[in-house]
């Protein structure tokens, strides 16, 4: 499997990774969620090489995850903002954040906490079933071919996910 064909794999994970599955993209998006919007600010906060940053921002814009919005004319300047597609990556960030909090924090605990505005508590995310509301884990799911499945998938699928 080559990297450029990843977006045509019959797998939503592979397709997602074709956009966010490299060294820098999710860190750039972290800054977006923290309301960073300008080239210079991304560069300073991340310590990323400028041309790598330019490339990532371009690819994210082409993918519809970010959009360029002018914030002044003469000289024209544009900032990068999350689209709805980009905002929808929040669960991905949250899952990685919660996993890092649990497994990668030192003995002193995680470096940042997230507080839920609605209830006021420091929280983490729980994944629940969209239909019955029960918590989901790897052993509670089975996989089956969907409407976009190519024939080759049909023979491979059939087990559960653990």
């Amino acid at each position: 499997m080559r990297w450029e064909e990843l977006d045509r794999e019959p797998c939503s994970l592979a397709r997602s990774l074709s956009i966010v599955g490299d060294r820098w993209t999710l860190l750039v998006l972290r800054e977006c969620f923290l309301r960073v919007r300008r080239f210079e600010e991304f560069e300073q906060r991340l310590g990323i090489a400028r041309h790598v940053l330019a490339d990532r921002l371009k690819k994210l814009t082409e993918a519809g995850v970010l959009r360029k919005e002018p914030y002044q004319e003469r000289p024209r300047r544009e900032e990068y903002r999350l689209t709805e597609k980009g905002l929808d990556l929040y669960p991905v960030m949250l899952s990685l954040l919660d996993w890092g909090d649990k497994w990668m924090a030192g003995p002193e605990g995680p470096p940042l906490l997230r507080r839920h505005k609605a209830c006021g508590h420091v929280v983490h995310a729980v994944h629940v079933c969209s239909e019955c509301g029960e918590p989901l884990d790897a052993r509670s799911m089975t996989v089956e071919p969907g409407p976009g499945a190519p024939p080759a998938v049909l023979k491979a699928a059939g087990g559960d996910t653990k």
Copy 2:
């Protein structure tokens, strides 16, 4: 920021990415969740270069995400299995999967569906607050320094996440 120092960043996202933030690791883990356990099988299913696969499996094992379990002696053969730390990455996979289903599927729909054993429905994951049970999104959260925060973080933090 250099890649090798990512695991010491005061950010759980960066620390998580120091393990799963490269081109291949999450695809290797996808196969693990689909119960692939042997070197040859990873190689065939992923089409990954052998030494890259060997390197990823070693790093994941060192990180405690996979463990090597002997499945026969003479000749000794070992297989790779998810540890508890690895199984805990399921929400990350699920988030990426759901995002791909929603945003990266063609008009014919997603290639695979996940069915919840408990309720029998085809489902996706919903992220809810661990304290109040309400759905979470980017705009409903604020960030604040945690117990492991270095001084530099204290001035940068303080906004919400969108």
